[in-house]
Structures are given as C-alpha cells and as structure tokens.
C-alpha cells in the first residue's frame, strides 16, 4: 500500500517520458523521411552506375550521349523529391529536401526542378541559413535562378556579415553571366548541348543574348560597394576587399577578347619564364595540377 504512490509515479513518469520522446521524434523526423532517403539512395546508385559506364566509354560522342541519359533518368527522382514537399513547402522540414534538390542538381537533373526548389526557398525560407548556404557554390556560374535567389537575399537584409556575402556573391553571379556571353560564342555543337543540359536550354538562349557590358558594369559597382562598406569581412581566408579587387581586375583583364596580362615567374626547374616570350605564337595556357 505504501508503495502504491511510488509505483503510480513511476508509471506516470514513464508514460510521460515515452510520450515526450514520441512527440519529439515526430517533430524532428520528416513525415516523408523514409521516402526521401530512398530517393537519395536511388540518385547515388544511378550516379555510381553511370560513372562506371563513363569510364568504359571511348569517344566523346558516347560520353555526351550518356550524360543526356543520366539527366533523363535522374530528373524524375528529383521531381519525386519535390513532390514530397510541394504541398507543405512552408514547413521547416521542407528545407532539407529543397536544398538537396539544388545542391545535387548540377549535372544530375534538368534545371527546371532546381528552379522550382529555389522559388520555394525564396518564398518560404529566405532567412533560413541553409538557403544562403546552398546558393554559395553556384553563384559564379551566373545562372538566372542564382541571380534571382541572390537578389532576394540581398533585399532580405540579413545580418551585416551575411548581407555582405550576399552582395559579393551577387556580384560574382553577374560577373559569371557577363563572361558567359563571349564564352558561349565559341561553343561547338557538343559543348552547347552539354551546357544546355547543365544550365537549361531556355536559360542558355537567354544568357547568350544578355548585355555583357551592362552586367560587367553592375558587377563592378557591387564589388566596389562591397570593398568600400564591408572590406574587412573575412571570406575563404581573405578579406572581401581583396576578393573584390581581384574580381574587378579579372573583369577588366581576363576574358575572351582581352589582351592577356604578362605572366612572369619560374618554371618547374627554377628557370625564369615569361608569357611575352611567346608572342607571335598561338598559346594554350593550361592550368593543371597532379594533386
């Protein structure tokens, strides 16, 4: 009899604990977690099997054809992942799926799926740190969805340091769009096809027609703004002031149609070597490394 309250208490506590644990589990685990894990595994498997086949192919045409097959087969998997969250995109749990669609999209699926995921992040999760993180690695490619997302992030006025990075990345994005205009003029049919698969056919058509001078001017303006107002912010081991200065230098000097700046230094054996010694010759400048 004496022990009854004790037992009751233990039972009650136990019940409360298990209830709390259950509640917590439901909160952190995505309702569609199992399905999402299956899709992720299917993408990994597809990538692995195509990478293996790629290694066995000899000609560039065969490799290009396999790339097309890969995109065609991987795209429905990303579409299924998108369908898991599309009716409930405002849920914080959706961010993990949406950022995964973007993060793994390059070279895996059609850009339209990535663009839909980007739109949902802009609409519902602009201030979630993961939204900014996921666009970071794509900024310099200058694709329309990255520009849209970065402009939204800039307008969202995140805390000062993060805001500085969004400005800097928007400038990088515009620099990338500006470079794309002359770069894409020398594409042969195979390269054009590949870039269309990576960027999206409609995007490529639009990007080729862009006004490169106008894009360069806005990029320089933004880089200048970053250097003047956020120059001391550290990013990838350097200050934004230095990043911005080298980006402006690159816009002005390194690009199709610009005269290559002099390169001086030493060769592998320590002998002096300079680019201007090769004037009068067609030069392939190959940046390489064995690491």
């Amino acid at each position: 009899m004496r022990y009854t309250p004790m037992i009751t208490l233990v039972v009650a506590l136990g019940a409360a604990c298990s209830y709390a644990a259950k509640g917590q589990q439901e909160k952190t685990e995505l309702p569609f977690a199992a399905e999402f894990e299956k899709l992720k595994a299917a993408v990994d498997k597809l990538e692995e099997s195509h990478a293996k086949r790629l290694g066995e192919l000899k000609t560039e045409d065969q490799k290009a054809a396999l790339f097309e097959v890969h995109i065609r087969e991987a795209t429905p998997l990303a579409e299924k992942a998108l369908a898991l969250v599309v009716g409930n995109a405002q849920d914080p749990a959706a961010v993990e799926v949406l950022t995964w669609i973007i993060d793994r999209g390059w070279g895996n699926w059609e850009s339209t799926v990535v663009e839909k995921a980007a739109d949902l992040l802009i609409q519902h999760h602009l201030k979630d740190r993961r939204t900014h993180n996921v666009v970071t690695g794509f900024a310099h490619l200058g694709m329309p969805w990255t520009e849209k997302m970065l402009r939204a992030l800039v307008a969202a006025e995140l805390p000062a340091k993060e805001h500085a990075l969004t400005l800097f990345q928007l400038a990088q994005c515009l620099q990338g769009s500006a470079e794309f205009v002359p770069d894409s003029k020398i594409f042969d049919a195979r390269r054009l096809k590949r870039v269309e698969l990576l960027y999206g056919k409609d995007n490529v058509a639009k990007m080729r027609m862009a006004d490169a001078a106008k894009l360069e001017a806005e990029a320089i303006r933004l880089f200048t703004d970053v250097a003047d107002n956020y120059g001391n912010v550290e990013y990838n081991l350097k200050k934004l002031r230095d990043h911005a200065a080298s980006a402006i230098y690159i816009i002005r000097n390194i690009g199709i149609g610009k005269t290559a700046p002099e390169i001086t230094g030493e060769d592998i054996d320590g002998k002096p070597m300079k680019l201007s010694d090769y004037r009068g010759k067609v030069v392939v400048l190959d940046f390489w490394g064995h690491w």
């Binding site: 020398i186 080298s246 060769d267 004037r279 030069v283 392939v284 390489w288 490394g289």
Partner: protein, 105 residues
C-alpha cells in the same frame, strides 16, 4: 589529359604554337618526377599551390581546375575551357587566321 597534350604538342611541333602550363602542385620535387614519368616536354610555371599568384590573377581558384585558355599570336585571349578534339580544331583555326593575317602582329 597528358596523352592528349603530348599528341597536340607533337602534331604542332613545327608550327608557331606553344603549350604552356601553370602548375599548382605544392611539392616541386614530386612534380619533377612526374614530369619525367609522364614525358611532359612543355614548360610550366610553378605556381606553388592552388592559391598561387598566377591562378589567383586568372581567377582559376574560383573557376576550378583544370582550366585552359587559348591565346592568339597577338596575345589576345580567344578561348576558355576548350577541351578534347575541340581544342585541336580551335588551335588550328587560330593558326590559319594567323597565316591569313600574314604572320606576326
């Protein structure tokens, strides 16, 4: 990579053409052995690492490795990221253009 470059250099050995590398390996001694082993006959600047001054100046640290630029005989940048058989074609076009223009400058 190296076999294609070797054949390009061999094919154009009597032409006004040069393949120049900018190498980003941190260890120069290992690199010297690699050059011998892979029969890399063309010259490279040694940039000291992936954040070397030449790579930084040419934006390669952002664009990623490997990257190729093609310069015409006047030193104007004409191509970027040109690879595979397209690189051969592209260089041939620039050589033809140079001859049509009457050689130097």
């Amino acid at each position: 990579m190296y076999p294609h470059e070797r054949s390009l250099v061999k094919r154009l050995e009597n032409q006004p053409f040069a393949l120049l590398g900018v190498n980003s390996d941190p260890d120069r001694q290992d690199l010297k052995e690699l050059v011998k082993k892979e029969q890399i006959t063309w010259r490279s600047w040694w940039d000291g690492g992936t954040e070397g001054p030449i790579a930084n100046k040419w934006n390669v640290n952002v664009r990623g490795w490997p990257t190729v630029f093609v310069l015409d005989h006047r030193g104007v940048i004409r191509g970027k990221d040109v690879t595979g058989s397209r690189l051969d074609e592209f260089v041939d076009e620039l050589l033809k253009e140079m001859k049509a223009a009457g050689g130097n400058n």
